[in-house]
């Protein structure tokens, strides 16, 4: 029974982790069709922002939940204004530009922060389940992921801003014919996506440490999760994270972490073979 609970808790943690690292990309790629290969570096910068602000004496929760997303969102505004706004509708060009940006950010981070892992202690400890000790911080990650996804769903579904964003992403020219300024909507959406990536980086800093090249470890998993989720950015990414996270954790427990990662990739491949437009291309159609 204890072992079953441990596996269950671990699944919850992995799903939350996967959802968090994917949510920023879901907004930038899923909504805006920008192939952002610098997504991992946005996560990395969120991590550094959380660590440096904590070291500067800022409360760790504020550092992770406010400073990290805000600083990366600001960077997102600059990136959108200087680079991305010229490339909308040209997916391959967005990929090349963001790849260049990714290399630049890795280079700058290595130059200024050094090529070493830095970290901070998790703000919450562990708890016991029978003979097993589990990190309570995994539940913090999952809780924040749940709040972010619920908030994103409500924002897109229930608010005028969400409606304007969905309309603009579907048909930019028609939205502008109805009095909406698409460039403003795109800038805000990109900044939100970047900010969510920064939030993920800030929250992951205590458990993974932060290194200039850490983004590489996240970007592939994030893309796989978002693409498997399909057209509905919030619902699709949440479902996909739940499915792939469960498969990954169960396979890891039954075998090894490497096999767990292979199982995740294999599952994504099979899902996309069976559902080429992603999970929400077949079910939950039309959900945000």
């Amino acid at each position: 029974m204890d072992y079953f609970l441990v596996v269950l808790f671990q699944i919850v943690g992995t799903v939350g982790n996967l959802a968090l690292i994917s949510v920023g990309l879901a907004v930038i790629f899923g909504m805006m069709r920008v192939i952002n290969l610098a997504h991992g570096e946005f996560i990395m910068l969120g991590g550094f922002a959380a660590i440096f602000s904590t070291q500067a004496g800022i409360n760790i929760w504020i550092a992770m939940l406010v400073v990290a997303p805000l600083s990366v969102a600001l960077l997102g505004v600059v990136v959108e204004r200087l680079i991305m706004r010229r490339l909308y509708g040209r997916m391959v060009d967005t990929m090349l530009a963001s790849w260049g940006l990714s290399l630049l950010l890795i280079g700058l981070a290595t130059t200024f922060f050094g090529n070493r892992v830095v970290g901070i202690a998790a703000p919450v400890g562990s708890f016991r389940v029978g003979g097993y000790s589990l990190g309570a911080y995994d539940f913090v990650l999952t809780g924040v992921a749940a709040v972010v996804f619920a908030g994103g769903y409500l924002l897109l579904r229930m608010t005028r801003a969400g409606l304007i964003a969905r309309a603009t992403m579907q048909n930019r020219e028609m939205a502008s014919s109805l009095g909406i300024e698409p460039s403003r909507v795109y800038a805000v959406t990109f900044a939100i996506g970047a900010g969510l990536s920064g939030l993920a980086g800030g929250l992951l800093a205590p458990i993974s440490g932060v290194l200039p090249t850490m983004g590489v470890a996240y970007v592939a998993k994030a893309f796989i999760t978002v693409i498997t989720g399909g057209a509905s950015v919030v619902t699709g990414t949440a479902l996909s994270a739940a499915l792939l996270g469960s498969i990954n954790t169960i396979s890891t427990f039954l075998t090894t972490p490497v096999v767990g990662d292979v199982a995740l990739l294999l599952a994504a491949t099979i899902f996309l073979r069976l559902l080429p437009t992603g999970i929400t291309g077949r079910i939950f159609k039309g959900a945000p």
Binding site: L163, A167, Q170, E173, G179, E181, G286
Partner: protein
């Protein structure tokens, strides 16, 4: 004499280096219903897209309600009172009918938006039973009515209508004709209609202009468009 609402002076535009419009001079008064007839590729849609700001003018000016809007963004033009119902309708396919209407009223306060949407649904009752359906699954005719309704939600002073009868079944065309006539009178709307359907344009427009190779080439009495010989000169059968 009603005051001038839209005016274009020596308006030129095109796609990249390919010029399409070669100096269009047109004035539309408040409450006027003007039709523009022409073959495919003569610049009808390009003219409307240039007036709306989707294609930049390379020369000339566009004035609306006394303001020079030649360099204004499409959104600014829409907020000033220009409405646009494009060719192909351009419905937001994943949004429901009611959400399409809400986007049309997006730059109004919630209370204003609610009131204007209710009014538009009253004026176009065909939308009432389909409010929760996705725009993308509607028939062509329903989409055309929705495109018009969405435009009306922004309460325009002038509507640019681009080939609204294209691919639409005859019964809906008749319904749309009646609706447009009624709306033009009730709301005091000005309409600039670009069409190839001679009957539709002759029944609605008070003034019909022809366009040839990017230039306005003449004016026709709308009543004469029912004359088969003259109609054949303007458009092929």
């Amino acid at each position: 004499m009603p005051h001038e609402l839209l005016s274009t002076r020596s308006l030129r535009s095109g796609y990249g280096r390919i010029p399409v419009l070669f100096g269009i001079d047109l004035t539309i008064a408040a409450g006027e219903f003007v039709g523009v007839l022409g073959h495919n590729g003569m610049g009808k849609s390009t003219f409307l897209r240039t007036v709306m700001g989707h294609i930049p003018a390379t020369e000339g000016t566009v004035s609306f309600a006394g303001q020079d809007i030649t360099r204004a963004s499409p959104a600014a033009r829409a907020r000033a009172g220009l409405g646009y119902v494009p060719q192909g309708r351009q419905i937001f396919p994943a949004l429901s009918v009611i959400d399409n209407l809400r986007v049309g009223a997006a730059h109004k306060t919630s209370a204003e938006a609610q009131a204007v949407i209710e009014q538009v649904i009253e004026e176009l009752p065909r939308l009432k039973p389909i409010l929760t359906r996705a725009g993308g699954v509607l028939s062509g005719g329903e989409q055309q009515i929705l495109a018009l309704a969405r435009c009306l939600c922004s309460e325009p002073k002038l509507i640019l209508l681009d080939e609204p009868t294209e691919g639409i079944q005859p019964s809906i065309i008749e319904e749309m004709k009646d609706t447009l006539k009624a709306l033009a009178v009730k709301r005091g709307l000005s309409i600039l209609l670009v069409e190839q359907n001679l009957e539709f344009i002759s029944d609605l427009a008070t003034r019909v202009l022809t366009i040839k190779r990017g230039q306005l080439s003449g004016e026709i009495d709308p009543r004469k468009l029912h004359d088969a010989d003259l109609a054949g000169d303007i458009l092929p059968a």
